[in-house]
Symmetry: C2
């Protein structure tokens, strides 16, 4: 059973550990080979964005300490900030109970969002309206030659 390692860890107590490789091998990637990865700012706890990783970009992120997603629109590895300079340095990587989601604690340089917004989650439901919570921090034209 692919999630055997996660089942075993359900009853583990603080401090118990297993080999990283066994956990990586048991991760539940989608049929497309992807897993969602939430990026949370280490200092404020704000959610910066949600991206996706495949096994290779996850391993690259762990090795280099610089967050690398897999871009579904461009179908390739996407080193966050490679065009905009708005990189993410990994502080901590967590995995959820059944191995189908990742939580990255990051040091975010500049805005996290391609729009120049600090966070991608700038749309808030307000009764029967959706309101923009913040104005962009940077002008996207200053961040990219083309769209990130």
């Amino acid at each position: 059973m692919s999630d055997g390692v996660f089942k075993r860890l359900e009853r583990a107590t603080a401090g118990e550990s297993v080999a990283l490789r066994d956990v990586l091998d048991a991760l539940q990637f989608t049929d497309d080979g992807l897993i969602p990865a939430i990026a949370q700012r280490h200092d404020t706890g704000e959610i910066a964005m949600v991206g996706y990783m495949n096994r290779a970009t996850l391993e690259e992120t762990l090795t280099t300490g610089r967050v690398c997603y897999y871009s579904r629109s461009r179908n390739r590895a996407w080193r966050k900030g490679e065009e905009s300079g708005n990189i993410q340095v990994l502080r901590e990587l967590r995995i959820d109970c059944d191995g189908d989601a990742l939580l990255l604690t990051v040091e975010q340089t500049g805005p996290a969002c391609h729009t120049g917004q600090r966070s991608c989650f700038y749309l808030k439901v307000n009764g029967d309206r959706v309101t923009v919570t913040h104005s962009p921090e940077r002008n996207p034209e200053d961040m990219y030659g083309s769209t990130d």
Copy 2:
């Protein structure tokens, strides 16, 4: 273009708003009709869990103020806490820049995780090991007749 409303909002400034219905109609659900929803504790900013919603459970959540996911394993609406009592009351619902992820700010009753852990993200990468960060707060046998 399905994400037209999101494109238009990319350059909006704080306080601008659009009709909720137009945003719901433009959300990017997967081929399975789902969208990932991150639950964040309103008081501590901790990420409690990641679930999935379809259009119906999202609308139910907005209407009732009690978080209802769509369970992929059970193929049905899953009112969080319906067995365990560990419910989530919605404080705020946010949508990301391209409409393919939701962020729920919640009041979480009890542990968020079916294991009795406070958060589902209790596994932390530590070099070549993965360590359990906390012990369960509750015994799952006390939470369920069967597995939630």
